[in-house]
């Protein structure tokens, strides 16, 4: 029921008993990400634009992208170390885009870049949680498995493009408003410049994104591509 029963992880297929400890959270996440996806699609088709998505799904996104922080713990309990780090990076970048960019920088909220990454995340998450749901009841349909390990080829670069565009778009307002600035002198004897941090954050995608991408490609080979190994 809780963490102790977690035997596997999103990427762990060697584990014989894949039992998700946080199954209720997963079901809830599945429904809310479906709601987000439907709302985004409805908005996109009725208005013919990716702009203005945040106004429609803002609160839902805040709650359920934050809940993904639990995924780091989830991974940490059933996985090899490298994947914990990779998952942490991925979740951190998303939580960052949700709170530090979309929530904090008002001029970005209506921008189409937010629509891009929300759409990419929503499709990814709906498939992922559907995958968890089926693995809980005993068997994952091949179509779902295939989607989970194939869509990332397009969705990853698509989502990252949205994230980077959104961060870039927020630079002007952050600089002008001095958002989240901490300047000397202060009692902590520390200063923080959010504007430079954002530039650093964007540069971090250069080493991290390829790692995540190739990690997923390797997972795909293990699960559906190449030589088919015996599945437990």
């Amino acid at each position: 029921m809780i963490w102790s029963s977690v035997q596997g992880s999103p990427f762990c297929f060697a584990c014989k008993r894949y039992t998700c400890g946080n199954e209720y959270l997963h079901q809830l996440s599945f429904f809310s990400w479906s709601a987000i996806l439907l709302a985004v699609l409805n908005h996109v088709f009725s208005n013919q634009t990716l702009s203005g998505v945040y106004e429609v799904i803002g609160p839902l996104l805040n709650i359920f992208q934050t809940a993904a922080v639990l995924e780091i713990l989830h991974c940490a309990f059933g996985l090899v170390r490298s994947s914990v780090v990779l998952t942490a990076f991925q979740v951190f970048s998303r939580v960052f885009c949700t709170w530090a960019i979309a929530y904090s920088v008002t001029s970005v909220q209506g921008h189409y870049s937010v629509g891009i990454f929300v759409l990419a995340w929503a499709v990814t998450e709906v498939i992922r949680y559907a995958f968890y749901f089926f693995s809980l009841i005993g068997g994952v349909p091949y179509a779902i498995q295939w989607c989970r390990y194939t869509f990332f080829y397009v969705l990853y670069p698509f989502g990252v493009t949205g994230e980077l565009l959104a961060v870039y778009q927020s630079l002007a307002e952050v600089k002008q408003k001095k958002l989240y600035h901490l300047e000397l002198p202060n009692a902590a004897n520390f200063s923080f410049n959010f504007y430079y941090f954002l530039i650093f954050f964007m540069l971090m995608y250069i080493p991290v994104f390829p790692q995540l991408y190739f990690h997923m490609i390797a997972q795909r080979k293990k699960v559906i591509g190449g030589a088919k190994k015996k599945m437990p």
């Binding site: 000397l184 002198p185 202060n186 009692a187 902590a188 004897n189 520390f190 200063s191």
Partner: protein
């Protein structure tokens, strides 16, 4: 009758003798890829892993001894140099798996590089503020705590350098070359991060004034003295030129009495030093350095504590790793 029994006896002895010197043909495979690397034939049942390494070195001069590691199982533990082929219970043509540990460097080299950097970097920030903060900064008056902090920081690293040269006796002679880059960027980076804020012209002096400054200074000096005492005690535990290991116990030096509470009091004292330094300077980057350093030292201490318990059956049960009574 007598002759046959003597002959039988001789035969048995010959057999026994030949068993002692059974030739072993060791097949060496690459631990990761499973590729065949070498066949070593000059070995017997009494050969040790060290002999295996020497033989391998003859074939591949590039792989000096400290760079090599062997395993029985490709995913298993690294074998110790003093284990013999017989003691491992291997067949006469065993398979060993080779692992390249990468280029190695002496611990002394790595330590000296790690610790010289912070000293020089901090002193640049302290003595040449004009370079970092602009020409106007050079003429600004400085709070006394800034001078004290520089003295403490420099003292700590000078102490470490001297200890590396004159006090420490390392059980492992080498470590991988990439460690020098990893460790140096950690120490050098944090030194610059801390030095930048403490020597800044806009530095804010501690809120509680002299009590905070001199209290912190006292704590820092206490930690440094304790740390030095433990290093001396550890040195005397290991006779020169050996890799011998013993259970550390308190000596006549009262600062070493912490050994009865924790396995690694040197880390406990070091943590006290940096906590005191952070309080004294009231600087968030220093507190961050303390946190990271404590985390790393706790990991090392837990490992060392576990090894002590494994190695010595009579290891004192009440002892903790790094924080008395807690961790």
């Amino acid at each position: 009758m007598a002759i046959t029994s003597v002959l039988q006896d001789v035969k048995k002895r010959k057999e026994a003798l030949s068993q002692e010197n059974v030739k072993y043909k060791v097949v060496v495979l690459h631990a990761k890829s499973g590729k065949s690397l070498a066949k070593l034939s000059n070995l017997t049942s009494n050969s040790t892993i060290l002999d295996v390494k020497r033989e391998y070195h003859k074939q591949f001069p590039k792989y000096y001894l400290s760079r090599q590691a062997f395993k029985v199982d490709p995913k298993g533990k690294l074998l110790k140099e003093n284990e013999t082929l017989k003691s491992l219970g291997l067949s006469k043509s065993p398979t060993l798996y080779f692992k390249d540990l990468g280029p190695q460097l002496g611990w002394t080299t790595v330590f000296l590089t790690e610790y010289t950097g912070p000293l020089l970097i901090y002193l640049i920030f302290y003595t040449r503020p004009a370079i970092i903060y602009g020409v106007a900064a050079a003429s600004e008056p400085r709070a006394s705590v800034v001078n004290i902090a520089c003295a403490c920081f420099s003292f700590h690293y000078i102490k470490r350098l001297l200890e590396t040269i004159f006090v420490h006796r390392f059980s492992n002679a080498t470590m991988p070359v990439r460690n020098i880059f990893k460790n140096s960027s950690y120490y050098w980076g944090f030194a610059a991060f801390i030095a930048y804020y403490i020597n800044h012209p806009l530095y804010t002096v501690p809120a509680y004034g002299d009590i905070q400054i001199y209290g912190g200074l006292a704590g820092f000096l206490f930690g440094e003295l304790g740390n030095f005492s433990i290093h001396m005690a550890l040195r005397n535990l290991r006779p020169p030129g050996t890799k011998e290991r013993r259970i550390p116990v308190p000596t006549s030096d009262p600062m070493t009495s912490l050994f009865s509470l924790v396995s690694c009091p040197n880390y406990t004292y070091e943590a006290i030093s940096w906590i005191s330094f952070s309080i004294m300077t009231q600087c968030l980057p220093a507190a961050l350095f303390t946190t990271c350093g404590f985390y790393q030292m706790a990991v090392w201490a837990l490992g060392k504590h576990r090894n002590y318990k494994k190695e010595f059956k009579d290891y004192p049960r009440k002892r903790k790793s790094i924080i008395p009574f807690l961790l």
